[in-house]
Point group: D2
Chain length 344, copies 4
């Protein structure tokens, strides 16, 4: 931590600031410039984080030197973390695609979707049984019977299941069905929920909140990891900005920034980021070109009749085309993607 003091700070103020910092076990180091005096604080910076340094008379600005996250940081682990998803791994050389409808709507449509996406290279099945909806009058999902359908389809196809958990009281229930627990964007800072999924070892797919910085996302991952669960997958899904031409603003640069800052796998959700079917392919290709380890794609047998997010869902043929196109971009990125032989 570096403390910049106000012009004209008194010696008594400087002494008081140093006492406050040293009382926490850190050392201080003074640099007097022409206009400003700077106090470097050496030692365990975390201890200073809750201290209202700005409140101490004479303090003008405070700059952190260390990252506030540890377990999630690249410095903590030199090697990329690989998170298992069924027989494959996220964070390895393969671009892993997880596909499926926004909501589980029934057994038949899930089975049909699973087989269709698996045939062209999807490695996991997504689908919501509990749905976060902006309006209390929208369809909220099938609940536990939706989870049962997901488990049945996994049994018949072998595709591992990614599904959302929204409530601390349902973590155990969802974990008893799902291979990966998804934390939605609106719950990225639901700290009770992060703590709860951190107590399991089940992989967690953590979606970036609409107003979360990259740092906030890494701190949310740190919550899960601090409880002992190292299996966190980060997901860029768009942030909220002034632009209304797309549902969200896909922060593509967050992908290489995250890959540099953390050892955790990073995936993209182009369906939510763009909010329109026609944007799913270009955003997917771009995410892979920028270094993403995987993709979450919304696919529905008949998007026009989907109970949620139909506007951004691909049908089977569009998804097959997407996977076809993806291969060349994965190649260009020195990565692989499943299903290549099927496409030949």
């Amino acid at each position: 931590m570096i403390i910049v003091t106000r012009r004209g700070v008194t010696d008594a103020e400087l002494d008081h600031i140093r006492e406050r910092v040293e009382a926490l076990g850190l050392r201080t180091h003074l640099s007097r410039g022409e206009h400003r005096t700077i106090i470097g604080c050496l030692g365990d910076e975390a201890r200073l984080q809750s201290v209202p340094l700005h409140s101490i008379p004479g303090v003008e600005a405070v700059h952190a030197v260390l990252k506030p996250y540890k377990l999630a940081s690249r410095e903590f682990a030199a090697e990329d973390t690989r998170v298992p998803l069924g027989s494959v791994e996220l964070g390895g050389p393969e671009i892993v695609v997880v596909a499926g409808p926004c909501s589980v709507e029934g057994a038949d449509m899930m089975e049909e979707t699973a087989r269709a996406v698996q045939a062209v290279g999807a490695r996991g099945l997504r689908g919501g049984a509990f749905k976060p909806r902006t309006s209390p009058y929208s369809f909220m999902g099938m609940g536990e019977s939706g989870l049962q359908i997901l488990a049945d389809v996994r049994a018949s196809t072998g595709l591992p299941v990614v599904t959302e958990v929204m409530d601390t009281r349902q973590v155990e229930l969802v974990a008893s069905y799902a291979d990966v627990l998804q934390i939605g964007a609106r719950n990225m800072q639901n700290f009770a929920l992060l703590t709860e999924v951190g107590r399991l070892r089940r992989p967690v797919l953590l979606k970036r909140g609409m107003s979360a910085t990259v740092k906030d996302l890494l701190l949310a991952a740190e919550y899960v990891m601090a409880q002992g669960n190292p299996n966190v997958i980060l997901c860029e899904r768009g942030i909220r900005t002034f632009e209304t031409a797309t549902r969200n603003t896909f922060d593509l640069a967050a992908i290489p920034v995250l890959k540099a800052e953390t050892h955790l796998p990073v995936v993209a959700d182009p369906s939510h980021a763009g909010g329109r079917r026609s944007l799913v392919a270009p955003l997917s290709y771009a995410a892979v070109a920028a270094g993403a380890d995987g993709l979450l794609i919304e696919v529905h047998p008949d998007p026009e009749t989907a109970t949620s997010d139909g506007d951004q869902s691909l049908d089977f043929s569009e998804f097959a085309d997407l996977m076809d196109g993806l291969r060349a971009f994965a190649d260009a990125a020195g990565r692989t993607v499943a299903g290549a032989t099927a496409a030949v």
Copy 2:
């Protein structure tokens, strides 16, 4: 709902769109312009909300005609809703000030703070027992023992208690101690939590999320109200923008916009909005000038030693000055504020 079709839409496409809409029990109405044909959809617009209209061939744009919230809307209730807080009401002629520390840190500091703020006109006591913190390594609050302290201080001072609930599993616990359940900004779209506090009749103070629009905030209120709890207080506390000179960007205009859109009381939290002690007074005065029904103010016996949010907390003397200054602005707004006689 109004559907604008693409240039060159075919009759078959128009028929198909109308069939889809009419199948839901609405009537349709065609207007053919030179460049575009428009389909007006008359009837229960809510039924169309989950339909992926953009997915239907020929559709270019869709415009909602009705507000997606009902119970929270001004159209639903002609009169302002008044939410009780101890012996006073939020939403009536009095500007109601609730003050206290960010976190409950102990019995003595709470008692001392409560007496100090009550003496100069505060009508409620705030303080967090469960604290949402961006970093898992920060102080998380005292938990139930903090709630007990709040209840004890209420018993000794008569000040009603506003405190945050973060987890569906703690709603009953917190409600057994608190007069008002606060939902924090990060949980504004924690729909499970909104539903749970909606099942009680205890007043709910709902803080606007950092990336929530006014519409999102009203839909979050609708979640609570749809469960049967009409006692919702809305709180503007700043949104996240590119500006870094302040902790958040205080969206002052949201106050008169909300007062026009809804019958619910609206309060402001200038402490979180500005993030700096020196901004609390100007933001408070401005909120009252713009029509706020109340204020949430962070006050601490010694801000320099506060375990959280010390930089934005007022000490007792600063709070007394704030209340003194507030009176003239309340007067100008045709409102009252408590403690006037004490101040003379």
Copy 3:
């Protein structure tokens, strides 16, 4: 400037960084912490501003210590700057209100508007002769004949004139008619234009750009002042955010932040910030409560027929009501506003 080096920085890298900084005439000062080494750079920080410090091997982060603006900063001038507007001053005890239509539409409507707003306390007349319009097909203003009308109305009423200049080639022309040169939000970083108006001594009203931080606004003021023109008035008029309920997001907190950072007068433009007639009064009152030195208000004899911004323009009676309401808030803020006697 403080340079934070990467974990594991080598001594050779440290030496190289120090050499680069010292070559510019600054001194350096090393603090070695457990995890990071910090280099304090003492001396003329401005010289470092163009240096790509991040490009030097071993550098992780760079923090500025000094403000990048000087002439505009509060440190530069202890006293508030007062900028003359006809017979009054902006930045003194009086809240100065400037009113008028968005565009000059004709001589009669300007004369009529000037007399109406002057009667209830306006101290200046606004009106655009050159209009910046988002679409090339919108009304662009009357040009020089509009300026002539403004000058004629000033002659007949005594009201000084505030009008926009959009093009370096028109600065002299506009200055030959106007008392205050307005730089619009879209031109806040039109550096050629800022430089040109800086060469005159005519007061400049500088509107904050839609994506400009407070720091950017002060640097834009610095451009004008660096040319020798000290008469700069800053104007908060709303920034662009994700919120669509209002035309812009009125950043009220920028007012007290600016008043602390600079000695220049600060005014607010509630008409553009809110974009709706009903928001003009609450935003005006709030701006005064937060410390604004003046207001710019759009007023039109018949807003329904205005050629631009009719939706946010007040008619004469609404403006009179606004001025009436304003007095109590000005009083509460310890300020005055003209026209009080007329209102009795």
Copy 4:
């Protein structure tokens, strides 16, 4: 234009609204729903654009049906516009890369840079002679002597020159040296400047403003085109959001959105978008994957000593690597990029 009227609108109000619209030569069409009455306005929508429809009693909301831009819209031109750049074209099958330093710093460094980038496939040379700088104390560019250097290097290498014009008074001067006139992000809504470059036929590279929507960018292009200049190249270079991990937020999705909305070529500037050298390659690859027609890349012989933007400039070897990597992504996108043989 569709006008939604308020609940309880009177027949007199409806009549008045219709009269206002019909007086402009449009026809109106009424749809009465249960809760709202809607007025469709058929005819030349542009005539309604300046009318303050919200000001008319009874109006609740107004929705535009037609795009506000015409010449720039995809509907106007079925074929992609190709803009010449020396011997190649922007908007054709080749991904066109323009490279060079942020600022022209001297003849030798420009010559050296031009030869280095040309050798590995760059088709144009960029470099600023007039520099927009946030601070008035930063290096402003070499001015006309910089333009002369650019022209000399073009003469010796054959590389066409892209350089910025910031002032209406300099348009002729810059056009006498440059092949493409660049309008910077801060001048995207400098309407006088847009009009001036529209009067020439010289290609214009129009950078998106930091707070400009896709619609605003297209309206800025419309300004240029409405003057008769059809040679506009659009450039995505990042927008301003709350995220501070990157200099700007690269709005990648704007590329496919623009390619769908307009026939004009679209390029990306990953140097400014990311603001860091390490992000240039991933953002470039992603832009191409998403459909960009070209790239602007900052390259400097020795970034560490650059007078501006050194942190985001590549050195020659990094640029050669970028071009090498780009080929595979261009292939995947079904596009070509120059210099392929050199890479074999």
